[in-house]
């Protein structure tokens, strides 16, 4: 039983962080149909920038995080402006190829600045273990869950209630109609990319706080795919629930079936889901009136 709670808590941690990374991915796909292969690198850059702010410059972690978010928003806008806007009107597959190029570029920039060896992260959240229902878990992991859930909740509220959020979903639905009511599609794309970069950066900082910072953090991006396929590529609640399911699944298989399998199982789940429900658990099916 202790093991179960232990695994559940660890699973929730990585699930919540996965959900954060997946949120940006879904947002970009929803609004512009682009599959962003550079999502993992956004996470990597976010972790490194936090590392630079807190570890190298010695800023207080609150200021460091705020600056990281700002830098990421800037990065998102820059990518949208320089890389994606010139691609408007090109076939979607070319745009997707461009994001693959972007991922290599960002990874290379990160290793140019910070090198290739993993660094210990200055732990801004203490990792002192706490006992919950008999299971021991680092405080940093608990905080990661809290932060991720607060953010996810805030974004869900943003998309449901705020005018900008509804406008983003409107653009995803019908670009030209959105344009006809004065919604600037370019602005919405810039928003989507900056939110994606910012949430990924926060996710990156949370992971780095637990495992340290190094180039292999970008592999986290690869784990986003089973999440979004499971939840549905275009569903924000799907990203959240998909993230949690994959996170828990990884931990349970790791704990009960043995290490190593946990790397594989999410992708097995991905194949099964694609066979049963190609749009994912919460993916939008095309509404057709008869």
């Amino acid at each position: 039983m202790d093991l179960f709670i232990q695994l559940t808590l660890t699973g929730l941690t990585s699930g919540a962080i996965l959900a954060l990374a997946a949120l940006g991915f879904v947002l970009i796909y929803k609004s512009s149909d682009v599959i962003n292969f550079a999502q993992g690198e956004f996470l990597l850059i976010g972790a490194y920038v936090t590392y630079a702010m807190v570890g190298q410059l010695g800023l207080h972690w609150t200021i460091g995080m705020a600056l990281t978010v700002l830098v990421s928003v800037g990065l998102g806008v820059l990518v949208e402006r320089l890389v994606l806007r010139p691609m408007i009107g090109e076939p979607i597959i070319s745009v997707i190829m461009v994001t693959i190029g972007l991922s290599s570029l960002l990874k290379a920039i990160a290793s140019m600045i910070w090198g290739n060896t993993p660094q210990a992260f200055p732990p801004f959240i203490p990792s002192t273990p706490v006992k919950i229902l008999g299971a021991t878990i680092g405080q940093d992991r608990l905080w990661a869950i809290v932060v991720a859930f607060v953010l996810l909740g805030a974004f869900t509220f943003f998309f449901r209630r705020s005018r900008e959020g509804i406008a983003m979903r409107a653009v995803a639905d019908d670009q030209q109609a959105a344009l006809s009511m004065g919604i600037s599609v370019k602005k919405i794309f810039a928003w989507a990319w900056s939110i994606a970069a910012a949430t990924a950066a926060i996710g990156g900082a949370l992971v780095a706080n637990i495992v340290g910072v190094g180039p292999e953090l970008s592999h986290f991006g690869l784990r986003v795919f089973p999440v979004v396929i499971l939840g549905g590529l275009d569903s924000i609640p799907g990203a959240i629930i998909g993230g949690l399911i994959i996170g828990l699944l990884e931990q349970y298989t790791g704990g009960y079936l043995g290490n190593g399998l946990n790397q594989v199982l999410p992708f097995v789940a991905l194949i099964v889901i694609l066979m049963i429900r190609p749009t994912g658990l919460f993916g939008q099916e095309r509404i057709e009136r008869v």
């Binding site: 409107a170 019908d174 030209q176 009511m181």
Partner: protein
């Protein structure tokens, strides 16, 4: 209020669609723009609302003036902010959003933070939307979607509302209801309306001013009473010929000749 002066619109640098189109939309009135398929009615609306750009179209000559200011080739967002709202052909509601979210999206350019009073006003015009406020718009019937499309336009509080074929694909009874509401909007809130229609009979029924378009330019204009009497309009747009006579091939030829003459 809106003056279109001799404009030319070209798509993809080669296709000339509007060839010296001119018209005036007077404040507070309902102006109808009629014409057959491909005459350039929708292009005219898009030229006004700035929606040509995403389709690679451009106003290459002439001027469009709204309240005395030139607006041709401006961004769609800027034009909406100046008070022109186009209800696009085929309704184009956001199918995955709820009715109420659609309305909020329509009020995107408004400065006020709270739009609930405007939403209530839309529901006053269309009580049926209120019943379905939390339903996904994609599951509404065609008529309800058209109501939602017009409601979305109301949310922006435009000075000029342009409606592109609001009767498209709707049952006659619904069409009458919707036209009745268009008239009410015009009378109650003083919104100027520019109505594009293929259904000439209906449009002549509510318009104060009518323009007829052929081949990218205006060929006839006048008050609906006068146009109803015009022999060409009767024949080509209202489908009325001398009662009881069957059309012969000769007359069809005449039709074609007249059409050429008209343009």
């Amino acid at each position: 209020m809106l003056t279109i002066n001799n404009i030319e619109v070209i798509y993809s640098d080669v296709i000339l669609v509007l060839k010296g189109m001119s018209m005036r939309v007077p404040q507070g009135k309902i102006t109808a723009l009629l014409g057959s398929n491909g005459a350039g009615k929708t292009t005219t609306l898009k030229a006004i609302s700035g929606l040509l750009k995403p389709e690679d179209g451009e106003v290459t000559d002439g001027a469009i003036e709204f309240m005395g200011k030139p607006i041709q080739n401006q961004d769609a967002a800027d034009i909406v902010r100046q008070g022109i709202f186009q209800v696009m052909e085929g309704r184009r509601v956001f199918v995955h959003l709820t009715v109420e979210e659609n309305l909020v999206a329509g009020g995107y350019t408004r400065k006020e933070l709270n739009l609930s009073r405007d939403i209530e006003k839309v529901y006053e015009y269309f009580p049926r939307l209120k019943e379905r406020r939390n339903q996904t718009a994609g599951h509404l019937s065609g008529g309800e979607q058209q109501m939602l499309a017009i409601g979305r336009a109301l949310m922006a509080k435009p000075n000029l509302m342009m409606l592109d074929e609001p009767s498209l694909g709707l049952a006659p009874l619904l069409v009458r209801e919707i036209f009745h509401i268009i008239k009410r909007i015009n009378e109650e809130s003083g919104t100027t309306i520019l109505l594009v229609e293929q259904n000439a009979n209906l449009a002549l029924g509510i318009a104060d001013e009518v323009y007829i378009m052929e081949n990218g330019r205006i060929v006839l204009e006048g008050r609906p009473e006068d146009l109803r009497e015009n022999a060409d309009v009767r024949e080509f747009y209202l489908g009325l010929t001398e009662v009881g006579q069957r059309k012969s091939y000769r007359e069809v030829k005449h039709y074609k000749r007249r059409k050429r003459w008209l343009s």
